[in-house]
Amino acid sequence: MTDPQLDQPWHVAGREFTSRLLVGTGKYRDLEETAAAVAASGAEIVTFAVRRTNLGQDADAPNLLDAVSPERYTLLPNTAGCYTASDAVRTCKLARELLDGHNLVKLEVLGDDRTLYPNVVETLKAADELVRDGFDVMVYTSDDPIVARELENRGCKAVMPLGSLIGSGHGLLNPASLRLILENATVPVLVDAGIGTASDAALAMEMGCAGVLMNSAIAHARHPVVMAGAMRKAIEAGREAFLAERMPRRAYAQASSPTQGLINE
């Protein structure tokens, strides 16, 4: 357990959270597995996508919001799949209507379908519009510290640089850039995208991130519910290591045992 003397809940847009692991709901086998993995992750913030309703299909088919209920979780609608600012803004407005006025959103505007790299020009435009319209915006972005600062200046409530490409599982490819973002930011910084396994998540937390958002790393593990638990522990371990402040790195060995009183003296 994290020492309550050291750790505090974190806040985004006036909302308070204890869990620093945020999870997506895509790519699971079924809604039952989704619900089990989300529960095992301990996440309080859960992201989902908005899509056209399939018409003419079974109207009694289970709905994501039955498996992951808005009463239990803080739902974070995302604009995944949007390639323009205007599509992203429309999607956020639909999501706000879907969730009865809930205004916390994850903005992502993509650049191309091979890399799913953020289009920062469109992202900045969408951020302006959404902030003006009263949304609390958590924004997926590149690991460019200047772009992160611009997004914060525009009123985004959290900045979420990629660790590596969405769904790639490459972990944190540019820790130096992430460190620059962390040094500058006055809003929470969360790594969003690229996490592959528990150590990637722990590393992000050890560096001082407020949290980590992931989907594929859990959903595409052979055993998603087990991985969800591993990620929960990794996030907690990384956070505690950050708070504990690690030992300095040394060029040479330093003995852990006393050098006096050896039997051959």
Binding site: T47, L55, N63, L75
Partner: protein, 66 residues
């Protein structure tokens, strides 16, 4: 009359409201959001909003995503 519903042509009898359309589609009581001609129509206005020829209607819901 004809509207565009989720990107497809859709025929409607008379001049239904959005509530009528949702009922016809079997979506009453579901968690959905409706947009007409790129403007949100809040749930509270579904019963009072009549559709017109050529309207572009989007009906969306929450789905798994990251």
């Amino acid at each position: 009359m004809q509207i565009q519903l989720n990107g497809e042509r859709h025929d409607l009898a008379g001049q239904p409201t959005i509530t009528d359309l949702i009922d016809t589609l079997g979506l009453a009581g579901r968690r959905i959001a409706v947009e007409v001609n790129e403007q949100i129509v809040p749930r509270s206005q579904h019963a009072a909003t009549r559709l017109a020829e050529g309207d572009r209607v989007e009906v969306v819901h929450a789905i798994g995503g990251g």
